[in-house]
């Protein structure tokens, strides 16, 4: 019997679910392997009977925790998809600000009606079995993780920095182009896609398990960033991870 899969979203842009909807010809191959029972972005049906739950978005409110725990209870495997779910994502930027200010900025005089707390990845709330990093995640990696789960194997998610892929792709280093990159501390697996296109790594996949943050900050400053800008480079995506470390 094909495993039943479900998709859920929390605080996020649904860009990761869109990647799945955009799988094109591979979508049919994928549907040959699994039954999708819950996918708000593309279908009306709903079911609480599923084996694998893919969760997008970060947890930003206390009452989201209940829903997450319910998903955990129903699913054999929970997979965090995209930066927000996997590492807290750019939602965690608000954690550096006063949360009351944040609420007022967004909801104005209705702020009181909207509960919020520090944005966090879903593994801050429930145990997670696998991660698909990226903002948005790539279709290739999503498929790789799905195939791994179906084969009962640990997904092959690198624990080395983006530099590895940049070197293999023979990119001119962003620093050599006068730009500032956090690839040296960011988890690879994206095939250095942003740097391949001539820009920088912003760190959307989060940091590797043991990043040398001090050295990276020194490098940023050595190449000309101010101390504040170097710190800001780490805030964009690493907010939750930095706080945890």
């Amino acid at each position: 019997m094909k495993p039943k899969v479900a998709f859920f979203d929390f605080a996020g842009c649904e860009g990761d679910e869109l990647q799945i909807a955009n799988l094109e010809e591979e979508l049919l191959d994928l549907l040959g392997q699994v039954d999708v029972v819950n996918f708000r972005e593309v279908m009306k049906e709903r079911s609480d009977n599923y084996d694998i739950a893919f969760v997008e978005g970060s947890c930003t409110r206390l009452h989201d925790e209940e829903r997450l725990k319910e998903i955990r209870k129903n699913a054999k495997y929970v997979v965090a998809i995209g930066s927000c779910a996997a590492i807290g994502g750019i939602n965690s930027l608000k954690n550096y600000q006063d949360l009351d200010d944040v609420r007022r900025t967004v909801y104005g005089d209705k702020a009181k009606l909207f509960d919020t707390y520090a944005a966090r990845p879903i593994d801050a709330v429930i145990p997670v079995d696998a991660y698909v990093y990226g903002c948005p995640m790539t279709r290739e990696e999503f498929l790789q993780v799905v195939k791994s789960l179906l084969l009962g194997k640990k997904p092959d998610i690198p624990n080395y920095p983006v530099c590895v892929e940049c070197k293999k792709n023979e990119n001119v280093c962003a620093f050599e182009r006068g730009q500032f990159c956090v690839g040296p501390v960011t988890r690879a697996g994206c095939n250095s896609c942003c740097v391949n296109e001539g820009t920088i790594c912003w760190g959307c996949r989060g940091m590797v398990d043991n990043p040398n943050e001090n050295s990276e900050k020194e490098v940023l400053i050595k190449y000309g960033l101010t101390v504040d800008d170097a710190i800001n480079k780490f805030k964009l995506y690493f907010g939750w991870q930095e706080r945890k470390r």
């Binding site: 392997q33 009962g152 080395y160 590895v164 070197k167 001119v172 050295s215």
Partner: protein, 638 residues
Amino acid sequence: MRVISKEDFGKFVSSLIQDDSLNVVGVKSKGNKFAFGQLNDASDLRLDYDVTLLPPKKYFFPQRETLVTYDVANGFFAKDPAHLKPTVIIGVHPYDIVALLHMDEIFRETKSDPYYFEKRKSSIIIGVNIQNMSKWCFAPQMGCATIEYGYDLMLTDLGNRYAVNIGSQKGQALLDKYAKNVTDALARDIQLVGQKKQEIVNMSQQKFNFPIELIPEMLNKTYEQSGFWEKHSEKCLACGSCVLVCPTCYCFDVKDSPDLSLKEGERIRTWDGCLLEDFAKIASGENFRPTRPTRYRHRYFKKGKYLFDRFGFVSCVGCGRCSSNCLPDIANPVNLFNDMNQEVLNMGVEIDAPAQPEVNLKTEGDINYTPKLATIVKKTPMTIKETLFEIKLDDGSILNQVPGQFVQVSVFGVGEAPISVSSSPTQKGTFQLCVRKIGSVTTGLHALNVGDKIGIRGPFGHGFDTEFLKGKDLLFVAAGLGIAPLRSLLNYVLDNRADYGQVIVLYGCKEPRELLFGDEMVALEKRDDVEYKSTVDWCPENEVWGGNIGVITTLIPQVNFDPENTYAVVVGPPIVYKFVVSDLKKRNVPDDHIILSLERRMKCGVGKCGHCQINQIYVCKDGPVFNYAKIKGVPEAL
């Protein structure tokens, strides 16, 4: 030496490009840097480059390469090399040619890598003498700035013309077929080329403060120098840039890439690097080189000492790519070795250049990356985590293993993992693997049933010397899963009992329910020609245990043996060796009477991929069975 005008050289390159039977690549600009790439127009060629981002090794040992394809119904297939076009590589600097010669030696030692050599043999190297030198380059100091061999053609820029040295018949033939107006060099040109080469040797801005012949010995003296490696690696990002851009680095990873049917897929080889955090990490989570200083040190030792001892060359050609790619600027070998020289001077020890090692390289056939199809004929659960699999090779051949050897086991779509053979070669027709469910492959294996297919490569490595041990008394010491490889020798000895002296078996595990081969152990206990003792670390209340309680070493004082004629065979998890060896020595067992089997991460099984390396030793090839006397001085071993 011949001469060709630059105009005619351009036409020569154009005619190479126009020939569809050739794949023509050369140095082109990339941003403000240079890279080897496909040549579509001769005018894109930039022979005045300083250094390329990646060395030309990528054409022989690509970043990503299919080794094997598989489909669940039919098994594993070697990648078909038939459609390979000869690649003409234009603009290789001499240091990169030296690097390729190093790679040739490395990839042909013991077993030859067919994927590397199929491309290497069909390539044509057109070298060029350095016109501009990168500020990081120290090739002249390494003796690699110019070269007289290793190329098919070698160009030297003489203003409006190139001098062309012909290095091979292939080079001559290429010139004859595609170039026009090639003339013999005049005495003046020959003199000019000599002059240019002399200039190149003086171009480097990098300077060593000592004779480089001292490098292997300097490394030797500083291996454990307190603080030295920590200081130099403090800023290491563990990003692997230094090793990934290196023209002589060859470590690789192997992984399976299934397609969405999950029934077919490929086995891929990709570049790996010993600086990366998980390089030496095994499925159980143990990491044999977990810290940045130890990995950073390993890189310098591999280049400067281990490869020197094995091949007779320091495997650095001075291209300077590692230096220029290291953002915190800690990878420059010139700086590191100058500091090391100072360190050695401060230590007040005199060192001499080591004698050139005796190099006796042999090649015994090709590496076979393609597993044989095999069938699980019996599956016996042993504990919650361990299962005994009995395997038969589908082609009817026998494994023919030596006790202590291992095989690489493939599970379709999941990958390949090294597993020691648990059965003795005296068991004919099939062999057994006692497997703990711990990583992806072993978990995948546990999900399979009798009749299911797997892949087998091997046997690999150096096993127990059953001939040498004849007539000796044997003390078997097994801890935990260590009984699995040890059983291959034990059963061999029991099947040839008259050939061996006294046999003592000490076996320990954590708790009674983890005991493996329980029935066989009961049978052992009943034999009067074997002394058997077992122990558990603890016995939970709900389990029954009548025997010894305590760690494995508590059994050693309980048995009598003559240390002079006894050989101790010890297999267990990494943690136990130190303790067992120390207690055996207390019983006066000489070092060379202790035999161990080590576990490491392994990908290739033939001493190439680099993962199982402990200092200068490859566990997969030189081991996994070692005499303690041989490895006691190897710091990373125990």
